[in-house]
């Protein structure tokens, strides 16, 4: 007889449906509001395109019939941003992880540097993005590198803080236990500090996931970028008058990329942090 964990979400299929239903309800309500607003206020396609026309636009070919379908082109651009964001995310994550371990081993370093790691969160880091892009471009680096650097930069701060907090979260008694086994420093880390820090790490990674995507998109805004969601959004906005639906689609794809990225992290968390109910 196992005791069910307190507050554990029910895993039965019935409860899944019960949880999905309100969400579907809210989405349906929003879509109804969309169409309702069009009818009620007599909004033109220019102001607020109908849902039908947005779906229709997905399947129009690009470049006057020669290119792929619009939705395919958009997803390709989304994938370009996703790739770069993921690269930056991995680099920034590893950097943050390493720094946190370093800080844990050398508290002197932490006492000096940590206030800045925290303070830097109050600084509009994203605002530097155009300069990174322009500077890197000037040096002849490929455009994806600048985007990746921005994404990495945005990932690394939350990961450092979250990971360090996690590494410190081992209880004094569980540390005593390790001591009583005369564990080596490596065993302390591998068997105790690392696993206790994982939930903290994933909380940070979830924050970093959306930051990395935003960073990649913002790094695509300065003139000169050729692919990615940022470019796509700017283009669609420019040609809004001739084809308003494209902008809505582009925003949708941006949202999709963000949610997929986040979902990936959540999935990894479920696979790795199994002990949490």
């Amino acid at each position: 007889m196992t005791y069910p964990a307190q507050g554990a979400p029910g895993g039965a299929p019935g409860t899944l449906a019960r949880r999905a239903l309100p969400i579907i309800g809210v989405i349906a309500t929003l879509l109804l509001l969309w169409e309702g607003a069009r009818l009620l206020f007599g909004l033109s396609e220019q102001r607020l395109p109908s849902l039908g026309s947005i779906i229709e636009t997905m399947f129009t070919p690009t470049r006057g019939g020669a290119g792929p379908l619009l939705i395919v082109q958009m997803l390709a651009n989304g994938w370009a941003t996703f790739r770069v964001a993921l690269g930056g995310f991995v680099i920034g994550g590893l950097l943050g992880f390493g720094l946190a371990v370093l800080f844990m081993r050398l508290p002197v370093l932490e006492r000096g540097l940590m206030p800045y790691v925290i303070g830097s969160q109050t600084v509009p880091i994203l605002a530097i993005a155009p300069m990174v892009v322009v500077g890197f471009g000037r040096m002849g680096a490929p455009p994806w590198l600048a985007k990746m650097v921005v994404a990495a930069y945005l990932t690394f701060f939350p990961v450092t803080i979250g990971m360090l907090r996690g590494l410190r979260s081992a209880s004094p008694q569980s540390l005593d236990l390790m001591r009583s086994y005369a564990a080596t420093p490596f065993q302390y880390f591998w068997k105790l500090r690392l696993p206790v820090s994982l939930p903290y790490l994933f909380t940070a990674l979830k924050i970093a996931a959306s930051a990395a995507v935003i960073g990649a998109i913002v790094a695509e805004l300065p003139s000169g970028a050729r692919e990615g969601i940022g470019v796509m959004i700017l283009n669609a906005a420019q040609y809004y008058n001739s084809r308003p639906q494209a902008l809505y689609l582009a925003i949708l794809v941006a949202g999709l990329v963000g949610v997929c990225f986040y979902g990936l992290v959540v999935l990894a968390e479920h696979l790795i942090v199994k002990w949490r109910a």
Partner: protein
């Protein structure tokens, strides 16, 4: 018992430096414990029971005096993996299954996986958790978790068991059952481990121990040592015997003496 002492305290004092000035947790404690002995430590809160236990386990160092364990320093004994520790809270690692928690010390000591697994399962069966090896700690009740913690402490057959109020968080019924279980685990071990058992419960101390060490607070000192000559194996009926009652009374009187002393000071 003519065996040489396994644990020896020689005029040991412990002073903590805290924010509000130094706190003398132990003053001039001398004590020797024989191999295979079951010692209960009892005394009012703050009298230094945990400190005494932590000194043995090399989780603290004495301010003066010496502690010897098997003729070695406590640190050497710790490096030789002589200690199994059980805290008041089970301190199971929530990310490991119950079986893998019991395996933890064996893993750290580099035992092969097959042996670890077998040893962990047999211990879990011994403490009545045979069916829960693959459960995570949060799926067990408090008493079950504490049994797993005891299995973990026993897993590598340490020669000394340090238990700091291990049953403190349990209800009376579970507690009495666990006491009996602990005694049978202890007496069935091939070389009996030496047990240092901190408790706040007088009947628990009397039921379990060979000797009850009564401590007095501020500063922490050994007030009296009450030998418990109740026959073993001790069973449910032991608690209802007249000998048990008179020993409980004796320990209680000794504890009250510590209070009187405090009033006089």
């Amino acid at each position: 018992m003519n065996t040489p002492p396994i644990i020896e305290f020689d005029r040991v004092s412990k002073v903590y430096q805290s924010g509000g000035g130094p706190v003398t947790a132990l003053l001039d404690v001398s004590l020797s414990i024989a191999a295979g002995e079951f010692i209960a430590l009892i005394g009012p809160s703050g009298c230094g029971k945990s400190t005494l236990m932590r000194l043995i386990g090399d989780l603290e160092q004495p301010s003066s005096g010496t502690v010897r364990v098997k003729g070695k320093t406590p640190e050497q004994a710790r490096l030789d993996r002589d200690y199994g520790i059980v805290f008041q809270a089970p301190v199971l690692y929530e990310w490991r299954t119950v079986r893998r928690n019991v395996e933890l010390p064996l893993e750290i000591m580099g035992r092969p996986p097959a042996e670890r697994r077998e040893r962990a399962m047999s211990l879990l069966r011994l403490v009545g958790l045979g069916d829960f090896g693959d459960a995570y700690p949060h799926q067990l009740s408090g008493g079950m978790q504490q049994r797993a913690a005891i299995a973990r402490a026993l897993s590598f057959e340490p020669s000394i068991l340090l238990m700091d109020e291990p049953f403190g968080a349990l209800d009376e019924i579970t507690r009495e059952r666990m006491q009996t279980e602990l005694l049978s685990l202890w007496s069935s071990a091939a070389p009996r481990p030496t047990v240092i058992f901190v408790t706040h419960s007088i009947p628990e101390a009397v039921f379990l121990a060979d000797r009850v060490v009564v401590m007095s607070p501020r500063p922490g000192r050994v007030q009296r040592i009450v030998p418990i000559d109740l026959p073993r194996p001790r069973v449910f009926e032991t608690r209802e015997s007249p000998g048990f009652f008179s020993l409980v009374t004796e320990v209680r009187e000794a504890l009250r003496a510590t209070e009187n002393e405090r009033v006089e000071v």
